[in-house]
C-alpha cells in the first residue's frame, strides 16, 4: 500500500482503549436508562392515563380565531374624518363543518348571484389552507343577501357569515392617489420582512399613505379562544382578547380645498397641487381623473383593472408626482431669476421682439406671431415673450440655467413620503454628454430657456418652486401628514416643516419676479387675467407645454388637433401677493392654454380658500358634507 498521508495517526493504545471502553459502557447505561424513562412515560400517558387523554381529545379542544383590528382613521387637517371603517360581511364556507361543498354550492350560487364555477375556484384555491380555516366565497355582501343567508342557515351547512371591518370612504374617491387603497396581502409580500407578522388573507395598504403608514394604521389583532368538539364545531368561547384599533393619521390636506380642486378639474386629465408656502404642507393633492377606491375594496376585478390600464386619461398615474411634463413658460421664472441674479440683464433694459429670433440656421418663433414689440423685463414676463427669453437664455448658457433650476428643487425628487416619485429632468452640457454622448448645441439652450426641449418637471416640483420663490427663498420638503395619534388621543408623532435650504438668487431678483407674477394676473396684457379675484391679489405664471413639434399641427385649428397632440396647459401661482400663504400649481393635460384651461381651476381653489379663511360667506364656510350613502355606492 502506498504511504498514506494520514498514517501518522496511530492505532489506539490498548491502555487508553480500556479506559475509553469503560466510559462508553457508562454512556450506554445512561442511554438505556433514558430510553427506559421515555418508554415508561409513554406507558404512563397512553395506557395508565390514556382514557383520560382520549376523552380530552374528544371534547376539549381549543381553537384560536383571529379578529381583525379596525384600521386607523384618516382625517383632514381640521380633524374631519375622510376614511373610517364600517363592518363588512363576507360569506365563508368551512370545510371542516361540511366536507362536501356540492350540497350547498348550488343554492348558495343562486343566493349570491354568482356562477358556480367562481365559487368552486375559490374553494380549490384554498385547498392548501388548514382544514378548519374557512374559505371566503364572497366579500362584502349587501343586507338583503345577508338576511337571506341567515334565514336559510339550516339548509346551508358549513356556510357562515364573517364580519370584518373594512374601509369606508366618506368622500368617495377623495385624494385617491394620495390615500391609496387596501387589498389582501399577496404571496410575494408575505415573504418580505416588513410583513413578517402578517398572514395570508390579511388586508394591507397597497399604495399611498395606506401603504406608507401601514405600521401605524394597522392596529393589533384580537384573539378569540374557542372550544370546539371533535368535528370542529364551536362549543363555547373561553376567552376573548379584543383587537386594538390602529392609530389615526391626520393629513395636511383640507377637505374643502381638495374637493374644490377635484370639482374644478371635472374629470379632465391633470393635476392640482396646493401648498402652504411657509411650511411645505400640502393642502390639496389632486391627480385627475381619480381612482374609484370602492372598486379596490375586496380586490379589483380583472376587467376593471384592464379598463384602468387602457384609459387614455391614465388614471393609474399619480400625475402630481409621477407625471413629467415640459414646464413651458412657467420655467421662465427660473430663467428670469438666473438672469437678474447673475447680472445678465437689468430690469429696465429693453429688447425688441419681432415675432421670431434667428439663430444658427433656424428661426425660433415667439408664441405671438406678430411679436411683442419693445419689451422690458416686466412686460416680457407678464406677456410671456419667448424672444426676450431666447436672448436671455443664450447669454446665460444652459449650465447657469441648470444651476438655478436645481437650486429651486427641479430635476430631483422632492422627497415627499410617497412611493414612485419621479425626478423630472434638468439638462446641462455634462448631462447631454453622459446621456447621449453628444455635444450640447447652443440652439437647444433657447428651448430650455422657455421650458421646452429636455426640461421635464412634475406639478409638485413646480408648486414647491413657486412657494420658494415667494416665501423669501426657502425650499421646504412637501409633506402630507401632520401627525399620528393613538386611539386614546395621545399624539405619537408630529411632522414639523423640513427646511431644505435656501435657493440661489438675490432678494432683489425675487422681488422683481413677484412683481411681474402679480402683473400676469392683474395687468392688461397679462396671460392669466381670468384668474383675477376681486379682493385678493394673486400672482402667477402660465405655461403651455408642447407635446409634439409644431410642424405636426401647424395650420390646424385648435379644435381639429387630435387630443393626444394638444399642448399641456400650466398655471403656477401664489396668493395673497402682499404676504404669500399658499401656492397653487395646476396642470391640465392637453388643455392647450395655460390661462384659459388651468387658470380657472386655480381661481376656484383660491376662491374657496379665502372664503373659508374670511368666513364671510356663511354657506361656503360650512364644511363640505360627506357624501350621502347612495351617492357613494354608485
Amino acid at each position: 500500500m502506498a504511504p498514506h498521508p494520514l498514517t501518522k495517526i496511530n492505532k489506539i493504545d490498548p491502555a487508553e482503549l480500556k479506559m475509553l471502553k469503560k466510559r462508553i459502557d457508562i454512556a450506554m447505561v445512561i442511554i438505556i436508562f433514558c430510553a427506559a424513562l421515555l418508554l415508561t412515560r409513554l406507558w404512563y400517558l397512553q395506557i395508565y392515563r390514556g382514557d383520560e387523554y382520549a376523552k380530552l381529545s374528544e371534547i376539549n379542544r381549543i381553537r384560536i380565531q383571529e379578529i381583525a383590528a379596525p384600521r386607523g382613521n384618516i382625517l383632514d387637517r381640521t380633524g374631519r374624518p375622510i376614511i373610517t371603517n364600517r363592518p363588512r360581511f363576507n360569506v365563508v364556507w368551512s370545510r371542516e363543518d361540511a366536507p362536501n361543498p356540492d350540497v350547498v354550492i348550488k343554492d348558495l350560487a343562486r343566493i349570491l348571484n354568482e356562477d358556480i364555477s367562481v365559487l368552486l375556484d375559490r374553494i380549490r384555491a384554498a385547498t392548501e389552507n388548514p382544514r378548519y380555516m374557512p374559505t371566503r366565497l364572497k366579500e362584502d355582501i349587501d343586507w338583503e343577501t345577508l338576511v337571506t343567508i341567515e334565514n336559510k342557515h339550516l339548509s346551508l351547512p358549513g356556510v357562515r357569515i364573517e364580519v370584518v371591518p373594512s374601509r369606508d370612504y366618506l368622500y368617495g374617491d377623495f385624494a385617491s392617489h394620495l390615500v391609496g387603497y387596501l387589498a389582501e396581502i399577496s404571496p410575494a409580500e408575505l415573504t418580505e420582512k416588513r410583513y413578517a407578522k402578517y398572514q395570508s388573507g390579511d388586508q394591507v395598504g397597497k399604495q399611498g399613505v395606506e401603504k406608507i403608514f401601514e405600521e401605524y394604521l394597522k392596529g393589533e389583532k384580537g384573539r378569540n379562544y374557542l372550544e370546539v368538539d371533535v368535528h370542529g364545531f364551536e362549543q363555547r368561547q373561553m376567552q376573548l382578547q379584543e383587537p386594538y384599533p390602529g392609530n389615526d393619521l391626520h393629513l395636511t390636506l383640507d377637505i374643502d380645498l381638495q374637493r374644490a380642486a377635484e370639482e374644478a378639474m371635472d374629470g379632465r386629465a391633470g393635476a392640482v397641487v396646493v401648498m402652504e408656502v411657509n411650511t411645505g404642507n400640502l393642502l390639496a393633492m389632486c391627480s385627475s381623473p381619480s381612482l374609484h377606491l370602492q372598486e379596490f375594496v375586496g380586490g379589483i376585478s380583472t376587467t376593471a383593472w384592464n379598463k384602468l390600464l387602457n384609459d387614455p386619461l391614465n388614471p393609474l398615474l399619480d400625475k402630481t408626482i409621477q407625471g413629467q411634463y415640459p414646464p413651458g413658460s412657467t420655467f421662465k421664472i427660473v430663467t428670469a431669476l438666473a438672469a437678474i441674479s447673475e447680472g445678465i440683464i437689468t430690469p429696465d433694459a429693453t429688447y425688441f421682439c419681432g415675432g421670431s429670433l434667428n439663430f444658427g440656421n433656424r428661426r425660433y418663433g415667439c408664441w405671438k406671431k406678430g411679436g411683442h414689440g419693445t419689451v422690458d423685463f416686466q412686460r416680457a414676463l407678464i406677456e410671456s415673450c419667448d424672444v426676450y427669453f431666447y436672448s436671455v437664455g443664450m447669454r446665460l448658457g444652459v449650465d447657469k440655467i441648470a444651476k438655478y433650476a436645481n437650486s429651486l428643487g427641479l430635476g430631483k425628487k422632492t422627497g415627499i413620503e410617497l412611493e414612485h416619485e419621479k425626478s423630472g429632468n434638468i439638462p446641462s452640457m455634462a448631462w447631454k454628454q453622459q446621456r447621449y454622448k453628444e455635444k450640447w448645441q447652443d440652439g437647444e439652450t433657447l428651448s430650455v430657456a422657455i421650458g421646452q426641449g429636455y426640461v421635464l418637471t412634475t406639478p409638485l416640483q413646480l408648486c414647491r418652486m413657486t412657494a420658494a420663490v415667494v416665501n423669501g427663498g426657502t425650499l421646504y420638503r412637501p409633506q402630507m401628514v401632520q401627525s399620528i395619534t393613538a386611539p386614546d388621543g395621545r399624539t405619537l408623532k408630529t411632522f414639523a416643516p423640513i427646511n431644505e435650504g435656501k435657493i440661489l438668487g438675490s432678494a432683489h431678483s425675487l422681488a422683481l419676479i413677484k412683481e411681474a407674477l402679480v402683473g400676469v394676473v392683474n395687468s392688461p396684457g397679462g396671460t392669466a387675467k381670468v384668474v383675477k379675484l376681486p379682493d385678493v391679489l394673486i400672482g402667477g405664471k402660465t405655461g403651455t407645454a408642447q407635446v409634439v413639434r409644431l410642424a405636426h399641427v401647424e395650420g390646424m385649428s385648435e379644435k381639429s388637433i387630435p387630443y393626444k397632440y394638444r399642448d399641456h396647459a400650466w398655471f403656477t401661482s401664489y396668493a395673497p401677493a402682499e404676504k404669500p400663504e399658499i401656492a397653487i400649481t395646476v396642470l391640465v393635460e392637453h388643455g392647450q392654454h395655460g390661462g384659459s384651461a388651468a387658470g380657472p381651476v386655480a381661481r376656484a381653489v383660491y376662491k374657496r380658500y379665502f372664503e373659508l379663511k374670511n368666513g364671510k360667506d356663511g354657506e361656503a364656510a360650512e364644511p363640505a358634507p360627506p357624501l350621502a350613502k347612495d351617492e357613494k355606492e354608485e
Partner: protein, 370 residues
C-alpha cells in the same frame, strides 16, 4: 490519491444502514400524514423530504468514500466557515417566527445552526485527539474547547434559538466528560455550573424563554398561551392508547390542534396515530441505532475515530432525548427536532451526514497504519 480498498466494501456497516433506513421510512410515513394537506410553493412537503433523503444519500456516499481522518486537517476550515455562516445568518438571515435562522440559497433555505452541531463535534474530537491528556484535563486545558463551543453557542443563542444553543452545550459536556477530566476540574465545574443557573435565569433568558420553563412546571396555569403546546401534545400522545387512532386519522394532528406537528411535534402525530405499540417500535428502533453508534465508537481503529463516533452519538442522542421528553411533557418546549423524523432539510442532511461519518469509521476499523 485515495485508492478504494475492497475491504471497505466488505466491512460496510449494513446494520447501521438498515437501522437508519427503518427509522427514516417510519419518519417519512409520519411526515406524509402530518403534511399531506400542505404544500410549499406547490411542492407537497413529503416530496421535499424525499428529495432531501436522496440528497442525503448522496452525502452519505460521499462521506463514506473519503477516510474520516482527513477531518483532522479540515476541522478548522470547517469551523471557520461555520462561524461565517452563523454571522451571515444573523446579519442577513430570514426571520421566521421571530428568529433569524435561515440563509436563502434559492433552491434551499439553509439553517446554519444545524450543520454547526456536527461541525462542533468534529472540532472537539480533533482538539481532544491532539491534546495529550496525561493526568487528565485541568480547568485551564478546557479554556480552548470551551471557547470553541462558546462562540457558536452565543451566535445561535442570539438568533435566538436557545434549544440549539443548549444542544451545543450538551455536546461539549458529553465529549469533555468522555475524555479524562481531573476530579478537581469536575468538582469546580459542577459548582460553577450550579451557581450559574440562577444568574442565567435572571439575565440571559428572554422573557418568553422563562415563560416556557414556568409553563412546563405548570402547564395548566396558562392553557391558551404558552401551555398550549405541551397540553395539546400530551393529549395527542395520550389519546393514542395502545393501538392508536389509525394512520392519518389522528384528530389532534389532522384538525390542527397540534402546533408544529411536522417539525418539533412530529412524534406526537406518530404516537397519536400508532398508539403505544407503534411508539415503542419507533423508540426501540431509534435507540438501537444510537447504541449501535456506541458499538462503532468502541471498535474504531484510532482514538480520533472513537472520539468522533462518540460525538456523533451524543449529537443524535441528545436531540432525540430532548425532543421526545419535550413532546411527552417531561422537558420544557425548546425547539429541538427529532433527527430523521422531524421535517427540516438542514436538520435531516446534518444528521444523515453524522450517520455517514459513523459508517465511515466502522468501515475503516481494520485499516492498518502500514
Amino acid at each position: 490519491m485515495l485508492r478504494f480498498d475492497r475491504r471497505l466494501l466488505l466491512n460496510f456497516d449494513w446494520v447501521l444502514f438498515v437501522a437508519v433506513l427503518v427509522v427514516a421510512l417510519l419518519g417519512l410515513t409520519n411526515i406524509y400524514s402530518a403534511t399531506h394537506l400542505y404544500t410549499n410553493m406547490g411542492t407537497p412537503l413529503y416530496l421535499k423530504v424525499l428529495t432531501y433523503y436522496l440528497f442525503g444519500a448522496a452525502i452519505i456516499l460521499l462521506i463514506v468514500s473519503i477516510d474520516y481522518r482527513v477531518l483532522l486537517t479540515l476541522n478548522y476550515p470547517l469551523y471557520i466557515s461555520m462561524i461565517i455562516l452563523l454571522l451571515f445568518a444573523l446579519a442577513f438571515g430570514k426571520t421566521i417566527g421571530g428568529a433569524q435562522r435561515w440563509i436563502n440559497l434559492g433552491f434551499f433555505r439553509l439553517q446554519p445552526s444545524e450543520p454547526a452541531k456536527l461541525i462542533l463535534v468534529i472540532t472537539l474530537a480533533s482538539y481532544y485527539y491532539r491534546k495529550e491528556t496525561g493526568k487528565g484535563f485541568s480547568l485551564l486545558d478546557l479554556a480552548v474547547p470551551a471557547l470553541l463551543t462558546g462562540v457558536p453557542f452565543l451566535l445561535i443563542a442570539k438568533q435566538p434559538d436557545l434549544g440549539t444553543g443548549l444542544l451545543l452545550g450538551f455536546i461539549f459536556v458529553s465529549m469533555t466528560l468522555f475524555v479524562k477530566l481531573r476530579w478537581s476540574t469536575l468538582a469546580t465545574l459542577l459548582c460553577v455550573g450550579l451557581s450559574a443557573i440562577p444568574i442565567a435565569w435572571k439575565f440571559f433568558l428572554k422573557p418568553y424563554q422563562r415563560q416556557r420553563v414556568a409553563t412546563f412546571l405548570n402547564p395548566e396555569h396558562d392553557p391558551l398561551g404558552t401551555g398550549y403546546h405541551i397540553i395539546q401534545s400530551k393529549i395527542a400522545v395520550g389519546s393514542g392508547l395502545i393501538f392508536g387512532k389509525g394512520y392519518m386519522k389522528g384528530t389532534q394532528g389532522q384538525l390542527d390542534f397540534l402546533p408544529e406537528r411536522h417539525t418539533d411535534f412530529a412524534f406526537s402525530v406518530w404516537a397519536e396515530e400508532w398508539g403505544f405499540l407503534g411508539s415503542v417500535v419507533l423508540v426501540v428502533c431509534y435507540f438501537f441505532m444510537i447504541l449501535w453508534g456506541l458499538n462503532i465508537a468502541i471498535s474504531a481503529r484510532d482514538k480520533f475515530g472513537v472520539l468522533l463516533a462518540f460525538g456523533v452519538v451524543s449529537l443524535i442522542f441528545w436531540q432525540a432525548f430532548i425532543n421526545l421528553a419535550m413532546v411527552m411533557g417531561l422537558l420544557p418546549v425548546v425547539g429541538v427536532p427529532l433527527p430523521l423524523v422531524s421535517y427540516g432539510g438542514s436538520s435531516l442532511l446534518t444528521n444523515l451526514a453524522g450517520l455517514g461519518l459513523l459508517m465511515n469509521i466502522r468501515m475503516r476499523r481494520y485499516m492498518g497504519t502500514s
